[in-house]
Symmetry: C2
Subunit: 281 residues, 2 copies
Amino acid sequence: MNYSELVFAIEARESVLCVGLDTDLDKLPRGFSKGSQSMLDFNKAIVDATAPYAVAYKPNLAFYEALGLEGWKVLEQTLLYIKTRYPGHFTIADAKRGDIGNTASMYAKGLLENMGFDSLTVAPYMGEDSVKPFLLPDKWAIVLALTSNGGSADFQMQPLANQAPLYQKVLERVQEWGSPEQLMFVVGATHSDELAHVRSVAPNHFFLIPGVGAQGGSVSGVLKTAAWRNKPGMGVLVNASRSILYASSGTDFAQKAALEAKKMQSDMALFMETSRPLLIP
Amino acid sequence: MNYSELVFAIEARESVLCVGLDTDLDKLPRGFSKGSQSMLDFNKAIVDATAPYAVAYKPNLAFYEALGLEGWKVLEQTLLYIKTRYPGHFTIADAKRGDIGNTASMYAKGLLENMGFDSLTVAPYMGEDSVKPFLLPDKWAIVLALTSNGGSADFQMQPLANQAPLYQKVLERVQEWGSPEQLMFVVGATHSDELAHVRSVAPNHFFLIPGVGAQGGSVSGVLKTAAWRNKPGMGVLVNASRSILYASSGTDFAQKAALEAKKMQSDMALFMETSRPLLIP
């Protein structure tokens, strides 16, 4: 999916919601057995329930890899289901890959070309040749800048010799490698004090923003500080995983997931509508 | 495999050679078809040919993921082959994973517990909670410090506010999270000017050292500067991938791989023997 298609999907649905498919067999609602088929059935139910309110889906590869071959199958089938039924939704392989050039090309081949994800998350530590192989036509690299977890303080927030934090250097340097039509950044909603600064450093790129919901950030707070300055509510994908997937542990899990997704989408739509510049007729 | 077993294996074989299984279907020798079975057959032949000279094997997960389900099967079967036939060899999942705590736990479950790798490579960008879940009994996290590629200049070598480069901060901080019996570091042989400094910052940890062979570093140069100060030739795993796997594109590929591995092991043994402190009877 390319840039214009993504912008169109967001405008059409008045949503920047990304549903993170961090599907954990140990947390499935009552009635599901512990097998990999349950994982697929659950994913399909969650996707069907949230598709009207979401613009993107982000399977977290760790949860599939943990089941070995069977998990890998569920990942492929989940992606196929989304791409077949909901071709207007953006797909993200949350893989956090990062390796030397020839290896990065192999990851690009596997996840973007063969499996067909629109994008994948990438760790920047290994630099330019570890990111560039992902910049393929109509595909995206989503580079970690400032992540939502506690460990982000260990290195990402360390000041460099010029006093700017490492994450700022990452934002600046990575922007030299590709356009806003190929590159996004991961910025955690938990860093409410830094979001506006991050946006000023990378004014034109999409941000994938985890850390809303179970991790604590608010939708309107995030949109106010992190969305594009000239287009209210645009330029971000706000991810929620656990708060939607496990909204209920009962048989009403899909309805509750839909309600949670709808609530987030309503907040997004309200923000977009009320923040539009007034048109004087 | 634990610390004493690894030290024992190195002493017994007078080798610190790690063979990187970056197996690329497009580079297989003449006579191999392009299917995943070829990849497994090739891996087995390489392992059999190099086992007398190597102490570790390191499949690069990207090359297996690129083939989807079939590739994942080859990875599992390759690991099973090594663990069954050569249980005294150390195994490394070259995965460069790095994600928030609950996700890192899933990667640990999949690669270390279920598949049974002794260790995996980990990217440090996301900090403490992304590394600690890998510190399991008799398992190892091998954290990227200073990698062998050109992109290592982009962030790893950036000076922080105290003028020390980022990779030094990574070495210092990560050492606080676990012991030399749980943690290793990746340090590229291509950084010949920095190897001695890196060793002084982390005197007691094992280093996994890529960048010898196809990427240019020399075995004796690496051992001189990067091995433990008090035990010549110990405390490193020197990786070679392409120079061994693709030593010949003909039907003699296994013999040529064995020769190349043997040459490296001989250099290692010579270094260990000639650098031993003299014992005065």
